[in-house]
Symmetry: C2
Subunit: 210 residues, 2 copies
């Protein structure tokens, strides 16, 4: 493709590049990094393996770009939703809502993050090289809330593993609990019920103990 | 081994079988089902690949036995802890404590369940063929609590995805959040803090709304 159509390389390249990333994200979500094969990505996109290597030097770089984009997009989503929200509790709920809505709208991201938590240092030496922004977003909100006295002294990590992590399971478990318990995480009634519980738990988690 | 030492096959076989299961559980936890290789299991145990095939017809059967044992053990753990506990709230907390303590003591199980949630029907057509007992344990407690009027009408699945699922993230995230946030999930102070939050959230989740 590159050799035969040099004049349209840039525009066509961009579309192909973005298609490779979309397909790769789905495959990494479905079967995980270790089992994913570039051949499979190429075949699904409808190109040959060397064409992928033109855009990405290898599987690790392709994966890295997928994961980096997930956390960068999630961070933008949070910034957009929390911009101008100063009350700590409102800010915490806006952050949790942003994560929930982001993951519901991009379930492949939820499954990739879910895998990232399971993988024992599978993706190199620094497991937070892309997720650091998300962790800092939560830590900032918690630190401010605790400093203001509105929150009890609570650890951001405990909040992450309980209230915030719930959004991952909510999205990922939709079809993993057997046919009779299957649900659509994007269905308004379902999402409203889950969001109400998430808010209730967030408030309970940070409420100063009487 | 089988051919050369037939007289000690049974005792030796049992020890080898159980060693294969231990190693396989660690490898499935570390890299997932799709990426795991029987060669790798054999090499780690210190036997040849055909010896594994003597005990397990293939990777799927080996995986199935690992997952079945995880959920059977977890279910026994729950039965033991909830036996004789009739108050719905006490029963819910005993169930959550049982899951938390089980997962903390067997982190490979936590990572395998975490992967099971991420995998989109990767393990055959019935994702709950082994986890059904765990789901029913939770549903029974929730149904009884709601029927008694002690709990608000809450969905067991919402509880699973929030309060109960937190134990998985607590165990799996221990070393996934970067060196400065690394923790030991089995350390008493850490576990006490997490358990207190889990109890607090469980109570908030089921408390009838005033």
């Amino acid at each position: 493709m590159i050799a035969t159509r040099p004049t349209v390389r840039q525009p066509r390249g961009d579309a192909t590049r973005s298609q490779i990333l979309d397909v790769a994200e789905r495959i990494f979500a479905d079967i995980g990094y270790a089992a994913a094969r570039l051949d499979h990505v190429a075949e699904t996109v409808g190109i040959r393996r060397p064409s992928i290597l033109y855009y990405f030097p290898g599987k690790q770089q392709l994966y890295d770009e997928v994961e980096a984009d997930i956390f960068a997009s999630m961070h933008s989503f949070v910034l957009n939703r929390t911009d101008g929200v100063t009350d700590p509790m409102a800010r915490l709920l806006a952050l949790l809502d942003a994560w929930l809505d982001f993951l519901v709208s991009r379930p492949t991201a939820a499954r990739i993050i879910q895998r990232l938590i399971a993988d024992s240092a599978a993706y190199g030496n620094n497991p937070v090289r892309f997720s650091e922004s998300a962790l800092q977003d939560l830590e900032d909100v918690v630190t401010t809330g605790v400093a203001s006295g509105q929150f009890q002294p609570v650890s951001a990590m405990v909040l992450l593993n309980t209230v915030a992590g719930g959004a991952l399971h909510y999205v990922c478990n939709a079809h993993q609990l057997g046919p009779t318990r299957s649900y659509d995480p994007a269905a308004p009634a379902q999402l409203t019920e889950f969001r109400a519980m998430m808010h209730r738990l967030a408030k309970a988690a940070v409420a100063p103990q009487g």
